[in-house]
Symmetry: C2
């Protein structure tokens, strides 16, 4: 069997690929387990291939039918569709967001439909599909009301995945991811980029400016749990999902102030003092529209788990990164 990972050069795509290479197998939509013969990593920049002969790297635009078509065949029984234009960028460049977040997602689903082999498709959605007046804890039954183009495009992707699954064109699973924190690497154009930056940069000895108020609540998930959840959701039998393929993943609900306090507890007051606050209205408008927590009864029943707390998330980040981070940082 073959696995396709879109956004395969991204940080989640790369971690997922590494995990799949170690794991070596996945189940198909009939519940039969197959060994993974090939993992295709497609992205706009070249992915690392881990020096593993099973990895095929494809570089290009996933909204291009010819390119996408050559990454999928009837042996491609699993697709992890992670590629996306992030929230801040989709707001700044409307056409680019529509092309990648909507058109490319539909193209991928249409290619699967044409091939007719009903692959499993795991699609990542986001807290950004919610917005407007929300209850303290969002329920599975709470209406979507995205207040950004990114959230709109993700919500449309969810609807398509559900209908294509209902019609038997694909066997889809949509995971609404909490904000991922702590991401390694550099800041990106996501409105939520600070949710990693205010932890990562201070740990690297650098200052970090937080664009939202300390009172703002976030719903967070560590990269480790995100990867575990992607694979676990892939392995679930379709019938366990009932009449909706969309699952709100468990997260940790913390205020930005609590994140700073957790950093101080884990790394000391000097590190925490590297965070300063300078509100940015554009970022705050988007991030404030997202839920600070949602009900996770369904996800728990499906065996999907959250991190223990935000301190645990920071410690895992330090563990994952310790060597590199301490060398690269000026601490």
């Amino acid at each position: 069997m073959k696995v396709l990972v879109t956004g395969g050069a991204g940080f989640l795509g790369q971690r997922l690929a590494r995990q799949l290479l170690t794991r070596g197998q996945l189940s198909d939509s009939r519940g039969r387990t197959h060994s993974i013969d090939q993992i295709v990593l497609v992205d706009v920049v070249p992915a690392h291939d881990f020096g593993d002969a099973r990895v095929r790297v494809v570089t290009g635009d996933i909204a291009d039918r010819a390119l996408l078509r050559q990454t999928i065949d009837t042996d491609t029984t699993s697709i992890f569709h992670l590629a996306a234009i992030v929230s801040g960028q989709a707001e700044a460049d409307f056409d680019l967001g529509m092309r990648i977040n909507l058109d490319a997602s539909r193209l991928l689903l249409d290619i699967c439909r044409e091939l007719g082999h009903r692959p499993k498709v795991v699609f990542t959605s986001s807290v950004a599909v919610y917005g407007g007046t929300l209850p303290d804890v969002v329920q599975d039954s709470t209406a979507l009301n995205p207040q950004s183009s990114y959230g709109t495009q993700k919500a449309i992707g969810e609807l398509l995945l559900n209908d294509y699954s209902r019609r038997g064109f694909v066997d889809g699973r949509v995971l609404r991811l909490p904000t991922i924190s702590v991401r390694p690497g550099k800041p990106n154009k996501a409105a939520s980029s600070f949710a990693s930056g205010i932890i990562r940069e201070p740990l690297h000895g650098e200052s970090s400016v937080c664009p939202v108020a300390p009172e703002l609540r976030l719903w967070l998930l560590s990269p480790r749990r995100a990867i575990e959840s992607l694979i676990a959701a892939h392995e679930l039998p379709a019938q366990s999902l009932g009449d909706s393929r969309t699952v709100n993943l468990p997260g940790v609900s913390v205020s930005v102030g609590q994140m700073v306090a957790a950093l101080e507890k884990v790394a000391g007051p000097e590190v925490a003092s590297r965070i300063s606050f300078a509100p940015d209205a554009a970022v705050e408008r988007i991030v404030k529209s997202w839920p600070g927590a949602w009900d996770v009864t369904r996800a728990r029943a499906l065996g999907l788990a959250a991190d223990a707390d935000f301190e645990t998330i920071i410690r895992a980040f330090i563990e994952d990164e310790s060597e590199d981070a301490l060398t690269a940082g000026k601490a």
Copy 2:
């Protein structure tokens, strides 16, 4: 000013056009009233022009950019986007539903965006955006979970209208219509076609087979009220809509059994006896997924009203149609 009506040859499109010709004026997105210089009726079949020089009939495919582009210019300050492939047909022909219900809607919005004049766009959505396990009375905050491709495509259209409005490309208003009953004319391929047929055909002296059980509850709106609501929603100031452009229109909640009883009360037992029941699983599956009632607090606050009851709806149908119906029918 110019008005565009897509689906302009359809029964709602024609009634809307006649009403607009009588009314003679509409307000723009800045609240300024203009007289209507032209009404463009575009549809796949030719619309009637009512012998009025203000009506321009355009015949063709609204998913064709060139055709749609020639129906909209910067004087087109009002668009009523009614064209759609109905539920049963969108379920039977997936590509056709996607092309008209999704692609043509997006094309229309993109043409408005390109022109940059921010027209008012009134888009009709449907009970079919709901589905799955629903509360007895659906709330504005209830999640969409369409169980048909038509419902999925309408839900996507809603999301696009909202985002294009938020970004200032159009001034959109989305009306979720209850099932329209009693429609004149012939049965169509909507799964809800029977909701008019079981009243219309018996009144015309013909028998009618109801494909769902008498216990099934429907949420109904008369054609008269639908047209009133389309115009009233067009005239609302944008700021009255808050962070969502979508409004659930008031309706009358009745079971199919109560509809039959109302027909008997209005037209007598002989007429009502022309209805027989023969469940059709495909129709029942779709129609059962729709809500039988939803909360209308918001619509009422906006001044949008329901019919008094189903008897009133039947009497209005007889009034609107009496001459023709009694001639055409065999009663």
